[in-house]
């Protein structure tokens, strides 16, 4: 009998990650072959996903350091430290369309209550079953929800993961100067932690470069969102999520990301100039106030567009009220990064603090984007948001737009099926007199 070496184990843990990389690769090829219209923007995005995966795979193969973390944990710092990183939540997001996901979701029931957020339930399951690449260090995300924190506690008792050094910045509940100072201090501790455990040093000049590049991206993102105010809206449901993916996940502070945004703005500008909308006859402008579920992208959103001329004009992840980061000093950079992580990054911004943040966004988006209806998908993990439905309904009433609460699982189609969601939309549109088919 041969015993598995550490290296073998790491390679085994990479198996699903490699599968994922391969499916992105196939997608990148397909997009690359038939570039047309807005679709051509998918190709560089999927290529970047492949490259992000490859960087982690290479790190495993060469025994180099890499980090497991999230977009809400100041990834600009990992980039500046030249540390490859991957999102610990990868399993549900990137496997959203995988046929085996339902089985994995079911298997988690032997561990946790099935009311525990599916995203972290599956991620936790992968930890317990040793199915995820074991990083050199973990930067845990303690905001915005309980599930995220709980999933990281789990690592403390896992035979394998508990040996991986872990740090989390403590998120204050407020957005004021005192909170940002406190968080900047936590960030300094995080940097020391990363330096100690990865052997990499953070060079502040390099961090400045990364942030400046990222600022360029955010400027373009803001410009892009201005273009989405146009009637008809030039792009549909998936683009906001892509913009988020580029700026905050896969091309953080990377000139390739800036180029991607430049192309995006160009494309949108052209369409707005021509008066071309995502659909020919735009009749309903939707604010989808959560992440656009990948599972629904294949069916629900195209159906809404075709059947009702209903376009997702804005969504939680595409919405960027970003303040650019002041790069004058270490102090201003760390505070700026903290603000981005706590008060700007989607979902963190709305879900971490008091509900006023939440309500404020609805007001702003409905007004700025000429929204006809607000949809709260009500992912079963987003409890703090689902405890706001009364407030959301009231602010919508005040603004004169109808509000719909679905109640679904972003990752498990069986919770509320697409057919059921379609039915809800049909009834909703009918009763609100929003869009007659045809």
């Amino acid at each position: 009998m041969t015993t598995e070496t550490e290296k073998d184990k790491q390679m085994r843990r990479l198996a699903k990650f490699i599968e994922e990389r391969d499916s992105y690769e196939a997608m990148a090829k397909a997009f690359g072959q038939s570039p047309s219209g807005t679709d051509k923007l998918y190709a560089p995005l999927t290529e970047a996903y492949v490259e992000q995966h490859n960087a982690v795979i290479r790190a495993v193969e060469n025994g180099d350091p890499f980090v497991a973390s999230y977009y809400g944990c100041q990834p600009e710092i990992y980039v500046a430290m030249d540390l490859p990183w991957y999102t610990f939540l990868t399993p549900v997001f990137t496997n959203a369309m995988s046929p085996t996901l339902p089985e994995e979701i079911d298997a988690t029931e032997s561990l946790f209550g099935k009311d525990f957020c599916t995203a972290f339930r599956v991620a936790g399951y992968w930890v317990e079953k040793d199915l995820a690449p074991l990083p050199t260090a973990i930067i845990a995300m303690l905001h915005p929800c309980d599930a995220s924190l709980a999933a990281h506690q789990l690592m403390q008792t896992n035979e394998i993961w508990r040996h991986v050094p872990m740090f989390g910045c403590d998120p204050p509940y407020w957005n004021d100067e005192r909170s940002l100072d406190y968080y900047a201090n936590e960030t300094r501790l995080m940097i020391s932690f990363l330096e100690e455990h990865t052997g990499r040093k953070l060079d502040m000049d390099r961090l400045r470069e990364v942030i400046e590049e990222s600022n360029k991206m955010f400027k373009l993102w803001i410009e892009y969102n201005e273009l989405r105010r146009a009637v008809p809206c030039p792009h549909g449901y998936g683009v906001g999520l892509q913009a988020f993916g580029v700026a905050m996940n896969i091309l953080v502070g990377d000139p390739k990301g800036t180029q991607w945004f430049t192309d995006l703005v160009e494309d949108a500008e052209m369409l707005v100039r021509e008066g071309t909308g995502k659909v020919e006859n735009e009749r309903v402008r939707i604010f989808w106030f959560d992440v656009v579920s990948l599972g629904l992208s294949l069916d629900l959103f195209p159906w809404l567009e075709q059947e009702y001329g209903a376009v997702v004009v804005m969504d939680m992840f595409g919405y960027t009220p970003y303040t650019l980061i002041d790069t004058t000093s270490e102090e201003t950079m760390l505070k700026g990064l903290g603000k981005r992580a706590l008060c700007d990054a989607p979902m963190m911004r709305q879900a971490r603090g008091v509900a006023d943040n939440w309500i404020g966004d609805i007001r702003q988006v409905v007004t700025d984007y000429k929204i006809d209806c607000v949809v709260w998908p009500g992912h079963m993990g987003h409890k703090d948001g689902s405890a706001n439905i009364g407030m959301m309904r009231e602010v919508c009433r005040e603004l004169g737009v109808p509000f719909m609460n679905i109640g679904m699982d972003n990752f498990d189609e069986r919770y509320t099926t697409t057919a059921e969601i379609k039915e809800m939309f049909s009834r909703f549109f009918d009763s609100m007199g929003l869009a007659k088919a045809g």
């Binding site: 209550g113 709980a150 506690q153 998120p171 439905i389």
Partner: protein, 381 residues
């Protein structure tokens, strides 16, 4: 299973656990006293006492439905949250002068947002509770205590002096020490008090003027001195979990023969197992140190699991625990993971661990009985 003692104090405690406003609290209010509700046990009771009010740990006791709250919160919100908001909306909490929340969990922190808009309570406040237990967090929480103190002072037009705070710390520490004495008795082979009654005592400790409570608890401790302990049990159990405040829930377990001898609950050891350090000169620093670092945390505190597990391990040894029941309110993310972890840790050590999910208002008793019976059988009892 019953506590075999005739004790007036115990009766009063039982009554306090069964009602929202108990006679002692009523008396206090009739004399012009004010009450301030706290929605999490990480909230600083001592500041409220020092302000001359009674800190009252919010509960949903007596709630019969969530129909009003359901317009504001979806059904995936834990039922404690929905019941207590419902009671606020119905006016059942009109007796309070104010309420303090912390960003406890995703459910409970939203009661504040809804309450602030929909319930007419003169003073509402929310504190930012850190999620870690280290020095910077103690310092942060001390500032939060200052903010709360100043807000209360402004609201009531009073000054909360350091001496008042020290006095309050002493009183609350005495409550903690007395509760610990009560628990010491439960270490015996034949504990003089059931788990259900012990829970009633702890619940009462969060719902009446503390000096009065301390006197009453001293009486009860006296009454329990000569009592014949409980012998007719099949197993000694520990309960772990969050906001369990209903003695009837424990009674169902004890009626099956499992005597609950200790716990790790919000209405249990976590709120009194250690004291606020009276030797620290600055009382606010002492409180911050206690609430963030010294007190046994709940699973919303990051990287503190080992300390909680150590507490459970000590309890198993000191209270001769045979098995553990982990209670959880449905939809609570933090406790489902904690129970999984505790189960994984203690089962291999020969301590069976059962997770019982429940709704806040006791129901489904038949099913619960069956599960508890089956659990006790697996223990061979």
């Amino acid at each position: 299973m019953e506590t075999k003692v005739k004790s007036k104090a115990l009766q009063q405690f039982q009554e306090a656990a069964e009602t929202l406003v108990n006679p002692e609290l009523k008396k206090w209010m009739e004399q012009g006293g004010k009450v301030m509700a706290l929605f999490c046990s990480c909230g600083p009771e001592e500041i409220i006492t020092a302000a001359g009010m009674v800190p009252f740990r919010a509960r949903g006791t007596g709630s019969t439905g969530t129909e009003l709250a359901d317009a504001y919160m979806a059904s995936i919100i834990c039922s404690f949250t929905r019941h207590s908001l419902n009671m606020g909306l119905r006016g059942d909490y009109d007796f309070i002068e104010g309420a303090v929340w912390l960003n406890t969990c995703d459910h409970c922190r939203r009661i504040y947002d809804n309450w602030k808009r929909k319930v007419d309570t003169p003073f509402v406040h929310i504190m930012s509770l850190p999620k870690k237990t280290e020095k910077p967090q103690v310092a942060w929480y001390r500032d939060e205590l200052v903010i709360l103190k100043e807000a209360v002072e402004k609201h009531l037009g009073i000054t909360i002096t350091d001496d008042k705070l020290r006095e309050a710390i002493k009183t609350h520490n005495e409550t903690r020490r007395l509760l610990k004495q009560l628990y010491e008795l439960r270490k015996r082979d034949n504990p003089p008090i059931t788990g259900a009654d012990a829970l009633a005592v702890v619940v009462a400790s969060t719902a009446m003027p503390r000096e009065r409570f301390n006197e009453m608890l001293k009486e009860l401790l006296q009454d329990l001195k000569e009592v014949e302990g409980i012998k007719d049990y099949r197993a000694r159990l520990m309960i772990t979990g969050g906001i369990l405040d209903d003695p009837n829930y424990i009674k169902v377990i004890e009626d099956q023969g499992g005597l609950v001898v200790t716990d790790m609950l919000c209405f249990g050891t976590r709120i009194f197992w250690n004291d606020v350090d009276e030797k620290i000169g600055d009382p606010l620093q002492a409180l911050a140190q206690y609430y963030i670092a010294d007190r046994y945390s709940c699973p919303r505190m990051f990287q503190d699991y080992p300390r909680r597990a150590a507490l459970v391990r000590d309890m198993i040894r000191d209270f001769k625990v045979d098995a553990i029941i982990g209670e959880r309110l449905l939809f609570c993310d933090i406790w489902t993971v904690e129970h999984y972890q505790l189960g994984k840790e203690f089962r291999p050590e020969g301590i069976p661990y059962m997770q019982l999910d429940r709704e806040y208002i006791l129901g489904g008793i038949g099913q619960m009985k069956t599960r508890v019976q089956a659990f006790l059988e697996t223990l061979g009892r």
